[in-house]
């Protein structure tokens, strides 16, 4: 479980996160939603430690990440898997090498054992036969799967996904969402997903946090979101004419 308490983050004179408090439950797909520029990515990067907040607490299983020593942080980071918006695969490595990378760095397993684990992860994301290809030789959807395989290679306790569906067609986006949901349940991970994709919200939103202008405006689940009563959230969800008609 991850908890965030009274988190503030600014860049120069602009406050991007204002007093954010919430919790992300284990075995659930926790979604952070909001418009572009609302502070979703800053919140996610503050939780994983890529940004340092000015104030507040980020608790990983009750331990404050911001107050941890370097070694304690390193231990937590080994339990984190992250899927970046653009997949962020290493260009010079093959698919197999990308998935084996965390195993090479953090384990003392033999080459065969590491390769076996990499093949298991690739198989788990339904990606067989692409292991010798470079990231540039596979499609965007396949790149996301490789990035997921790399993220789960070390059997993480926490999985972070920054807009996993960006740049994907609607069908592939659903496949990726379902894959993340399945893996979350299978590995009993605390999964946090940044998204503004409505199909993700209604498909896998066990716990949803809506951020607007750096503030938390609403929290609930996919069944409650339609009747949130929050004007900003309604404007966000029913932004298109098509969705407005459905609501009516």
């Amino acid at each position: 479980m991850i908890e965030v308490k009274n988190l503030y983050k600014s860049f120069e004179d602009k406050t991007v996160l204002k007093d954010i408090s919430t919790s992300f439950k284990k075995g659930n797909t926790n979604l952070i939603i909001g418009r572009s520029g609302s502070g979703k990515t800053v919140l996610l990067k503050s939780i994983v430690g890529l940004f340092t907040p000015e104030k507040g607490e980020v608790l990983y299983d009750k331990k404050d990440f911001l107050k941890m020593s370097k070694d304690e942080k390193k231990n937590v980071r080994e339990e984190i898997g992250m899927l970046f918006q653009g997949s962020a695969l290493f260009d010079s490595m093959t698919v197999e090498e990308n998935v084996m990378f965390p195993l090479d760095v953090f384990t003392n397993k033999s080459y065969e054992e590491r390769r076996e684990r990499a093949m298991f992860c690739l198989d788990r994301v339904n990606l067989d036969g692409a292991e010798k290809k470079l990231p540039s030789e596979i499609s965007g959807g396949m790149q996301k799967r490789v990035a997921i395989a790399r993220a789960i290679a070390l059997n993480p306790k926490y999985l972070f996904c920054d807009e996993p569906n960006s740049g994907l067609d609607p069908q592939t986006a659903i496949v990726i969402d379902e894959l993340i949901k399945e893996l979350t349940i299978e590995f009993n991970m605390t999964t946090i997903i940044n998204t503004h994709d409505m199909s993700s919200v209604f498909g896998i939103g066990d716990n949803i946090i809506f951020i607007h202008d750096g503030e938390k405006h609403w929290e609930g689940n996919k069944d409650e979101i339609m009747d949130s009563g929050n004007e900003e959230l309604d404007n966000f969800i029913f932004a298109s004419e098509f969705l407005k008609k459905i609501k009516r």
């Binding site: 890529l50 980071r77 992250m82 962020a88 760095v105």
Partner: protein, 258 residues
């Protein structure tokens, strides 16, 4: 009471800041070395990319520069009282003292420097460096240490190759054109040979290799934005490392040869 800084003061502050950041960057390169298995794998890759792949350009440029230096010297020494073998002496000393270390350093600042800055810059803007940071890997040490070790190890060899090929190019040009007879050139190339010149050149090459890799890596690592900024970082890396090579060349010559 308000204080206003002049443009000169602001420039000075920025230079000091930049040097401070660069020093901190260098400290991070050596602070936490990655796992041996991963490091050696990366090192072999970098030795190939930065060193072995530069042999071709070093061979071509050294050969032609050696040839041109010989011809220029021969045409400029017209006095009959100056023996022909002095062309060999001059070509050898030019290659050993200056060309093979400094000019090869400048060439590598362009080739290797832009390669490193664009590679690391692209990794930065495509979040590949964030992947390393999230995993708890020190991205500076992981990416930079193999590059620094690879070029610092291989650049002296490139300089030795350049010395040999340059003198050979001079001999070939002199012999083929007939401006310096073969025996005269060979005699000159061996005449009053000072072995320290080679040591001096190799010491310079190690320092130049360190400057090229760290400066280029620094600019690449601090890239933000997109492909345009990667290009800008790459250009900046080449310009700054070239200027630093010239500056350190002056300092080292003063320290070691005078």
């Amino acid at each position: 009471m308000r204080f206003y800084l002049s443009l000169k003061d602001m420039l000075l502050i920025n230079i000091i800041k930049e040097i401070g950041r660069y020093t901190a960057f260098i400290k991070r390169i050596f602070s936490r070395p990655p796992k041996h298995r991963v490091f050696f794998k990366q090192l072999i890759k970098e030795m190939d990319a930065l060193g072995v792949n530069s042999i071709g350009i070093v061979l071509i440029i050294s050969f032609f520069m050696g040839a041109v230096i010989t011809l220029q010297l021969a045409y400029n020494i017209e006095l009959p009282i100056i023996p022909k073998y002095t062309v060999g002496v001059g070509a050898r000393d030019t290659m050993l003292l200056e060309f093979s270390s400094t000019v090869v350093g400048l060439i590598l600042a362009g080739k290797v420097g832009s390669h490193i800055a664009s590679e690391i810059g692209t990794m930065r803007v495509t979040e590949q460096i964030d992947v390393l940071d999230v995993m708890g890997i020190d991205s500076v040490g992981f990416l930079m240490l193999p590059k620094v070790v690879a070029l610092v190890t291989l650049m002296p060899f490139l300089v030795l190759i350049s010395m040999f090929v340059g003198v050979f190019g001079g001999w070939l040009a002199g012999s083929f054109t007939g401006v310096v007879p073969s025996e005269e050139f060979i005699y000159g190339a061996q005449y009053a040979f000072v072995p320290f010149y080679i040591v001096y050149s190799l010491i310079k090459s190690v320092i130049f290799a360190f400057l090229i890799t760290t400066i280029s890596g620094y600019y690449g690592y601090n890239t933000s934005g997109g492909s345009l900024e990667v290009g800008k970082s790459s250009t900046k890396a080449v310009v700054v490392s070239s200027v630093q090579i010239l500056l350190f060349n002056l300092l080292l010559t003063q320290l070691m040869l005078t």
